[in-house]
C-alpha cells in the first residue's frame, strides 16, 4: 500500500470514476458512473492528507468524519469505513451520488486549492456500494422498546432519516406516504440513470427490517389528518412532505398539450416507469424537439430523460448565464456530454401551438446581465427587440417548486411563513404545534438531500428527548 510520504513526492491524480460512454448512455436508463474498483478507491483515498483541521468536514452539512472514513478505506477496512459514515449519514449510497460535493466537502478540501480535490463523494459511494454487495447486512443494535409511537409523514430522505434514527432508539415508528412507493424525490424525481431505484428500495427495506412500518397511499390531510394521528395514539409527528407544488411560467398558452411540469414528466418516467411504455401502462410524451426551462438538477434530469426517450434535440433554456446555473457541476457536465444544448441568457415569453392545441414552439427573448439582485446574482434584463422563435413539441417546466398546502391547510395550528413553508425552531425542528416537528424541503423550500437528512437527524434527537423527558 502506498504511504503518504510517497504521495508527496509523486502526487496521485484524482481518480476518475469509470462511466458509460456518452454516445451509448444518452439512449439508455442505466446508471452513468459505474463506481470505483477497490484499487481505484484506495488510490483515490491515498490522496487525502489526513488534515488536523479538515476543511472538508466543516463543509459537510452533517459533519461526516471524512478523513476518518477515508483512512479506513486506505487501510482496506471497508466495513469500518461504512460504519464510520453511518455515524453521521444514514444513506451514504444516495449522498455519494447526489450531493453537490463541489460546494460542500470537496469545495473545502485542501488538496483542491492547488489541484483537484479528493473525490470524497466517489469514495462515500464506494463504501456504501461495497457494503451492499459484500457486507453482512447485519442490523445495528436497537434499544429496548419505549412504547412510544411516532408518525413520520412523507418518506423522502428527511422522513426516512427520522424513522431510522428513532427506531434504533426503541420507538415504534410508522411512515405515512402519499404515493404508492416510498422514497420521495429519490424515487419519483431523480432518474434511474443517476440513482438506481433498487438502492432506494434497499434502504427502505433495511428500515423495515429494523421494524419501521411503511404505510403507502396515505395522503395526510385527506385520508387522515395530523390530529387523527394523535387520536390514534401517536405521541409525536414528524412532517417531511417536501416541496411538492410545481411552479409554472404563467405565460400565455401554457395549458396546451406538450407542456408539462418537471414533476409530472419525471414522476411519469421514474415512479410510473413510463420510459418502458407500452410494456407498462402509463404513457409519457415523446418529444423530438424538447425545451427544458430552468437550469437546476431538476432541469438536467428532465433534459437527460428526454434525450434517453429518443429526442433529436434537447435544449435547456435559462435566463441567466452558465455561472449561475444551480445544478451540480457533474450533472451539467454529463448533460453537455450527452448532447444537451444550452440556450443561456434566454427567456421564453409565449408558447405557440397548432389548432389541435399542441405545442409547436415558443417565442423567446435574449437577456443580458445587469446589477446584482437580492440573491447576489446579476439580474437578467431583456434585450429589447430580440424576440426569436424556437421550435418545440415538448416543453418541460423546471423553474422550481413551492410548498404544497394539502397537509398544512388541514392543520391550522401549524404556523407557516408567507410562502407557505412550515416555521420551525432552528435548533430542534419543532413547529408551533405541540408534538409536531418538521424538516426538509417543506421547511427550507426546495434544497438538497443532505440538508433534508440533516434536518431529520436534528428533529429525531429532539423527538427522542421529548418522548424520554417530556421536552
Amino acid at each position: 500500500m502506498t504511504t503518504t510520504k510517497k504521495n508527496r513526492k509523486k502526487p496521485v491524480p484524482r481518480q476518475p470514476m469509470p462511466e458509460q460512454k456518452p454516445e451509448i448512455r444518452r439512449r439508455n436508463f442505466k446508471e452513468v458512473p459505474e463506481g470505483y474498483t477497490v484499487e481505484l478507491a484506495q488510490a483515490e483515498a491515498s490522496r487525502c492528507l489526513q488534515c488536523r483541521k479538515p476543511g472538508c468536514v466543516a463543509g459537510c452539512p452533517v459533519g461526516i468524519d471524512i478523513p476518518g472514513f477515508i483512512n479506513l478505506v486506505t487501510e482496506g477496512d471497508f466495513t469500518g469505513a461504512i460504519r464510520n459514515l453511518w455515524g453521521k449519514n444514514a444513506f451514504p449510497a444516495v449522498c455519494g451520488r447526489v450531493c453537490p460535493q463541489e460546494i460542500q466537502c470537496e469545495g473545502k478540501c485542501i488538496v483542491g486549492k492547488k489541484g483537484d480535490p479528493v473525490a470524497i463523494g466517489n469514495l462515500e459511494r464506494f463504501c456504501a456500494d461495497y457494503e451492499r454487495e459484500f457486507g453482512s447486512g447485519e442490523l445495528p443494535p436497537t434499544s429496548s422498546t419505549t412504547g412510544k409511537k411516532v408518525a413520520v409523514v412523507g418518506s423522502g430522505p428527511s422522513g426516512l432519516t427520522v424513522a431510522g434514527d428513532l427506531i434504533v432508539k426503541g420507538h415504534d415508528v410508522t411512515v405515512f406516504e402519499a404515493f404508492h412507493k416510498p422514497g420521495g424525490v429519490l424515487v419519483y424525481g431523480i432518474p434511474e440513470f443517476r440513482l438506481p431505484k433498487s438502492i432506494v428500495a434497499q434502504e427502505v427495506h433495511f428500515l423495515e427490517r429494523l421494524g419501521v412500518k411503511v404505510e403507502c397511499n396515505a395522503v395526510v390531510g385527506r385520508s387522515v389528518s395530523v390530529d387523527d394521528l394523535f387520536e390514534e395514539g401517536y405521541d409525536a409527528v414528524y412532517i417531511g412532505v417536501g416541496a411538492g407544488l410545481p411552479r409554472f411560467m404563467n405565460l400565455p398558452g401554457e395549458n396546451q398539450i406538450g407542456i408539462l411540469s418537471a414533476n409530472e414528466y419525471l414522476t411519469r418516467a421514474n415512479l410510473m416507469k413510463a420510459y418502458k411504455f407500452p410494456a407498462v401502462d402509463t404513457p409519457i410524451p415523446i418529444g423530438k424537439n424538447v425545451v427544458v426551462l430552468g437550469a437546476g438538477n431538476v432541469a438536467m434530469d428532465s433534459a437527460r430523460t428526454a434525450m434517453r426517450l429518443g429526442a433529436d434535440r434537447v435544449r435547456i433554456v435559462y435566463r441567466r448565464s452558465r455561472e449561475e446555473m444551480p445544478a451540480r457541476t457533474a450533472e451539467i457536465h454529463h448533460a453537455a456530454e450527452e448532447g444537451i444544448e444550452f440556450e443561456l441568457l434566454t427567456n421564453p415569453v409565449k408558447y405557440i401551438g397548432n389548432d389541435k392545441g399542441r405545442l409547436t414552439g415558443m417565442v423567446c427573448l435574449r437577456m443580458e446581465l445587469g446589477e446584482p439582485d437580492d440573491s447576489g446574482r446579476r439580474r437578467p434584463i431583456p434585450i429589447e427587440g430580440s424576440e426569436f422563435e424556437i421550435e418545440a413539441d415538448l416543453c418541460i417546466v423546471a423553474v422550481g417548486s413551492g410548498a404544497n398546502p394539502l397537509l398544512t391547510e388541514s392543520t391550522a395550528d401549524i404556523k407557516l411563513n408567507r410562502w407557505g413553508y412550515i416555521i420551525t425552531d432552528p435548533k430542534t425542528g419543532k413547529t408551533s404545534k405541540k408534538g409536531v416537528w418538521a424538516g426538509g424541503d417543506i421547511v427550507t423550500g426546495a434544497a438538497t438531500v443532505i440538508l433534508a437528512m440533516g434536518a431529520g437527524r436534528m428533529a429525531a434527537n429532539s423527538i427522542h428527548d421529548y418522548l424520554t423527558w417530556g421536552w
Binding site: V224, N255, I257, L260, N263, K276, D281
Partner: protein, 276 residues
C-alpha cells in the same frame, strides 16, 4: 390489496361496477370526492369518483365506462381479485346546503358521481329534480337508485328509445322556464356539462360541474390535471374536482383529455392482442 367484493356489468357490459374493500376510505369519504386506483405493479393511476360508500361494511363503490387499456384491465378483474393501490378520498367535497329547488343532471357514468350528491341534496331538505340523459335506453344506468333520491325525475334519450326524445338541456330548459331553481349540478361528458352551463348562465342559475382531467398524483404535486376556471389555472385534484360551471374552459379541458390519444391506442391494441 383492495379486494373486489361485488361486480356488476351495466349498459351491455360497457359500464362496470366494482364494490371494493377500503375501510379507511369508506369511513371518511364525502360526496364529490374521488379515489385513484392502480390495478397492478405496472398499472396506471386512474381517478374515479365514488358512487357510494358503506362505512359499516368498509367498502367503496366505483362505476366506470370501459374506454381504453386501463379500464379494460379493470373490467377483467373478478370478485376476489383486487386493486394493488387505492388512494383517497381525494379532492374537495361538494358543498351541500338547503337552498330550495335543485336540479341534478347526469349523463353517462357521470350519473354514478351524481348519485351521492343528489342523495345528500335531498337528505338536507332540498326539492330535488333529476334529469338523466343517455344515447339510448340500454346505456342508461342507475335509474332506480336515482329515482329513489329525487322528488321529480326525468329521462331523455338521443334516439327517443326511452323517456323524452332529446337532450338533457331540452328538459332542463323547460324546468328553468317554469320553476324557481336555486342550483344546478351537472355531471357527465364534457360537452354535456358545457351546454348545461351555457343554458343555466342565461338563467343566472349557479351551476356546479365535476371535472375529470387526466391525473397522476392527485395531491397537487404535478399539475397534470390543470384546468382553466375563470381565466385562472386550477388543479382539479385539489382545488376541485367541482367548479363553477359558468367559469370553466371546457374546450381546453376536451383538448387536454386528448393528450395521450395515440399512446392510448398503442396500449389498448397491446391489451387486445394479449387478451384475444
Amino acid at each position: 390489496m383492495f379486494k373486489i367484493v361485488r361486480r356488476e356489468e351495466m349498459a351491455g357490459g360497457t359500464v362496470i361496477l366494482n364494490e371494493i374493500e377500503a375501510p379507511k376510505i369508506a369511513g371518511r369519504e364525502k360526496p364529490g370526492q374521488f379515489v385513484l386506483l392502480k390495478a397492478n405493479e405496472d398499472g396506471e393511476r386512474v381517478p374515479l369518483t365514488m358512487a357510494e360508500t358503506d362505512p359499516e361494511k368498509g367498502t367503496i363503490t366505483i362505476i366506470y365506462m370501459v374506454v381504453g387499456r386501463t379500464t379494460a384491465l379493470f373490467k377483467s378483474l373478478q370478485v376476489g381479485d383486487g386493486f394493488q393501490d387505492v388512494i383517497g378520498p381525494l379532492g374537495k367535497a361538494t358543498h351541500i346546503e338547503k337552498i330550495g329547488k335543485v336540479v341534478c343532471v347526469g349523463g353517462g357514468t357521470g350519473t354514478a358521481v351524481l348519485h351521492p350528491i343528489t342523495r345528500a341534496m335531498k337528505e338536507i331538505g332540498n326539492h330535488v329534480i333529476t334529469i338523466l340523459g343517455a344515447r339510448n335506453k340500454d346505456l342508461l344506468i342507475l335509474e332506480d337508485l336515482m329515482r329513489k333520491v329525487s322528488d321529480d325525475f326525468y329521462i331523455t334519450t338521443d334516439d327517443g328509445s326511452y323517456g323524452r326524445h332529446g337532450l338533457v338541456t331540452d328538459q332542463l330548459k323547460d324546468i328553468l322556464d317554469r320553476e324557481d331553481i336555486k342550483q344546478v349540478v351537472a355531471i357527465g361528458p364534457v360537452p354535456m356539462m358545457k351546454f348545461v352551463s351555457l343554458l343555466t348562465k342565461k338563467y343566472n342559475v349557479p351551476t356546479l360541474v365535476s371535472l375529470n382531467p387526466i391525473m397522476v398524483d392527485g395531491t397537487g404535486m404535478c399539475g397534470c390535471c390543470r384546468v382553466t376556471v375563470g381565466d385562472k389555472t386550477r388543479f382539479a385534484c385539489v382545488d376541485g374536482p367541482e367548479f363553477d360551471g359558468h367559469q370553466v374552459d371546457y374546450d381546453e379541458l376536451m383538448m387536454r383529455l386528448q393528450s395521450y390519444r395515440e399512446e392510448e391506442k398503442v396500449s389498448y391494441d397491446k391489451h387486445c392482442r394479449m387478451n384475444g
